[in-house]
Symmetry: C2
């Protein structure tokens, strides 16, 4: 990873982050892998941690972003719900818009920094 | 603190965050208090942690953002340099611009969340 000059969007709900870069990456990985454990592995995250992040998201929004399928926690895989995909899409759109809005300033800011 | 629906800007340098919400708040507090230890106290942060954040900032930018005055680490106080004030100003401006750019979308996004 090189230098990152990019706004990060963190949306808080009460005291927890409801949506942020880590949770968005996890949603992407669950969507791709169809399982929380495979997603966690891909991101180098413990299963326990991934599960906590999923729970926080599911508890912060009006309806679940991720649902687990039959077979229990580790057994039957998981999927991002239609609502979850919509939330993720809106989040990515905001991220892109915020990034674009300060692109020029970010480039100027980078000149203040060491090589 | 209520819900926060605000982009956070984190500017990374190599593997560390060179500037972000915590470091910007620390710069503000040093500027106001004229001392790292008083700033740390105001933010409920250990002196050690504040000192680490200051070092990271000073090492990430072309010249120091904070300089300590005679009397040693704890003795003589500290001040935000002119360059540090400029970096902070540019950071705050980007933060404001990024926030404004997604204000409408953030309001819509908030409707996805629980009350």
């Amino acid at each position: 990873m090189g230098d990152s000059l990019q706004p990060q969007l963190k949306v808080s709900f009460r005291k927890s982050i409801a949506m942020g870069p880590g949770k968005a990456a996890l949603l992407d990985a669950i969507s791709k892998n169809g399982s929380i454990s495979a997603a966690a592995r891909e991101l180098g995250m413990s299963y326990r941690r991934a599960w906590i992040l999923v729970n926080t998201m599911n508890n912060s929004f009006l309806s679940p972003l991720v649902e687990t399928l039959t077979g229990g926690k580790r057994g039957g895989g998981a999927r991002v719900t239609e609502f979850g995909e919509e939330v993720l899409y809106q989040y990515r759109s905001m991220e892109e818009k915020a990034t674009k809005s300060v692109r020029t300033e970010m480039r100027r800011f980078a000149e203040y920094m060491r090589d």
